[in-house]
């Protein structure tokens, strides 16, 4: 069904309009689709352009301007429940199509036979040049928690620390979700004692070219998988092989000669 708007003033609903035209205008003069007879409203005040399921609000250079959800705007991509204000009048935009960010939506892909031509000229693609969407993530590597893998294994001191952590986190078993923040603490080698918070969906551990594993944060927990290297990571003394393994609180991981402990923050 089409989206609709509800015009109201001081909490009293004046009229409801279906957005069934590509362009609907709001203004004081009688030829507008939505007429608001008030001196604070310009002759042609604003327009709502609807393309398929999306609607856009445009200020037609009105004298007193347009606000959406309290912010003055020239152009706005309307979302369900947006409130447009023109003077003392309020127009609520309702589009109860399920949005694509909720479940049970995602209509199947369809073809538009006659492409809708947008008003503005379309830039021409030259044959040698594509217009790419550039996505950079400079911090991607800073936070991957690489550490040097050289250094002797030292057990005793760090294990004592691990035991302490275990006592502190004792009550936190059970309802583990992706929201439960988790940490990997390095127990041996030159970086012993360092903690690595698992704030990203993927955190790599190890040394590139030697041995790397990845810790994936998923909705139902944290999973360790082998990425590269001739040897597989070891969890609680068991080799991981090619399989992924869900980590439990206080699991001990051994990778590229370094021991570390996974635990949930409480």
């Amino acid at each position: 069904m089409a989206a609709k708007i509800i015009l109201s003033m001081d909490g009293v609903v004046l009229q409801e309009y279906a957005l069934n035209k590509e362009r609907m205008t709001v203004g004081r003069k009688a030829h507008n689709d939505i007429v608001i007879d008030n001196l604070a409203v310009s002759g042609e005040h604003a327009a709502i352009v609807t393309i398929q399921n999306d609607s856009f609000l445009e200020d037609l250079d009105s004298t007193n301007g347009v606000m959406v959800n309290g912010i003055t705007t020239k152009k706005h991509f309307l979302q369900n429940n947006d409130v447009i204000e023109i003077g003392k009048y309020k127009i609520k935009y309702l589009n109860d199509q399920p949005t694509q960010t909720t479940a049970a939506d995602f209509e199947r892909t369809m073809v538009l036979r006659a492409p809708v031509k947008p008003a503005a000229a379309k830039p021409v693609l030259s044959t040698t040049q594509a217009i790419p969407t550039v996505v950079t993530s400079e911090d991607a590597l800073d936070a991957t928690g690489k550490f040097s893998a050289t250094g002797p294994l030292t057990g005793s001191g760090s294990m004592a620390r691990a035991a302490g952590q275990s006592a502190a986190a004792g009550g936190g078993e059970g309802g583990v979700t992706s929201q439960a923040p988790a940490v990997v603490q390095i127990l041996s080698g030159p970086n012993a004692g360092k903690e690595l918070e698992l704030v990203k969906n993927l955190t790599t551990l190890g040394k590139p070219g030697v041995q790397v594993a990845v810790l994936a944060r998923r909705p139902h927990g944290y999973f360790l998988t082998h990425v590269e290297g001739a040897t597989f990571p070891v969890v609680n003394g068991e080799s991981l092989g090619e399989h992924l393994r869900q980590l439990n609180d206080h699991d001990i991981i051994e990778l590229a000669g370094v021991k570390m402990e996974f635990y949930f923050k409480t």
Binding site: N53, D54, T99, T109, M110, K117, P118, I131, V214, V227
Partner: protein, 275 residues
């Protein structure tokens, strides 16, 4: 280096968490450096039929032609690389097959498919696409899309009507403006790009890029680029963890070495004798 040694390819497809059918199809022809990914549409199993026809026509025909032709040669008529002509002609051939099947069998009426295909040759890649299936490239630290969707949303972005941030919440995500098999003729967009050692190419259906943000895809590719099978699994898993509302397919190609075509008479004769 021979092309099948210079490239590492991984194909993976998954129906997702919601759909009963998988209307995506994928193919990798390592021997001739060809990858094809399609995302079909249409009722019942028509989407599967359309995407299946497109993948098999394009991959088998191009493979067949390349037994005789050399992709780096110039086409006598158009002056374009043979690779470009091969892609365009065979996508057109797939278009005709689907169009005719759809018109001769009522249950297939209106079926169609998107396509994205890459043909690697002579340190280059020719990329053909129609619809909203995409190709991305990781080069160094830069991960970017190298195809531009033929979709209503992309047209709106191009015309400045809607910002990229707004596009994420648009309800018009699934309207493509071009597809294979809908009309008797189809216009295939083909571009040629240079390929560098270390590049990673990702082809995917919208089941990936609708469910996983570009930033997260980029992060995943950078993190797991040393292990392509794991990377493919991880990308599909991420789409499914986020709801998996559509079929999700990925093809990954890693450029491990140089694959320049043999040049000069001597090299040509040598390679001819090797065949």
């Amino acid at each position: 280096m021979d092309i099948k040694d210079a490239l590492e390819m991984v194909c993976m497809t998954h129906p997702g968490m919601v759909r009963a059918h998988n209307e995506d199809s994928v193919a990798c022809e390592a021997s001739c450096g060809l990858v094809v990914l399609t995302d079909g549409m249409g009722g019942y199993n028509a989407g599967e039929v359309a995407s299946g026809i497109a993948v098999s026509v394009v991959s088998s025909e191009i493979k067949h032609y390349l037994e005789e032709a050399r992709p780096e040669d110039k086409d006598a008529d158009s002056g374009e690389d043979v690779a470009v002509v091969l892609l365009r002609n065979n996508v057109q051939k797939a278009n005709s097959s689907i169009f005719h099947a759809a018109h001769s069998q009522p249950q297939y009426a209106g079926m169609g498919t998107t396509i994205v295909s890459g043909l690697f040759y002579d340190n280059r890649v020719a990329v053909a696409h129609i619809g909203d299936s995409r190709m991305y490239r990781l080069r160094g630290e830069v991960f970017e899309g190298i195809t531009r969707d033929h979709s209503l949303l992309q047209e709106q972005i191009d015309s400045g009507m809607i910002s990229k941030a707004d596009a994420r919440v648009s309800q018009n995500k699934n309207l493509v403006t071009r597809a294979v098999g809908i009309d008797a003729e189809v216009e295939t967009e083909v571009h040629v790009y240079d390929v560098k050692r270390g590049d990673i190419y990702l082809l995917c259906s919208d089941g990936l890029n609708d469910m996983v943000e570009d930033e997260d895809i980029a992060d995943t590719v950078k993190t797991l680029k040393s292990n392509l099978p794991l990377l493919a699994t991880q990308l599909i898993q991420a789409a499914n963890d986020n709801g998996g509302r559509d079929n999700v397919s990925v093809i990954l190609v890693k450029v491990k070495g140089d694959f320049a075509a043999p040049r000069g008479l001597h090299a040509k004769i040598l390679s001819w004798f090797k065949n």
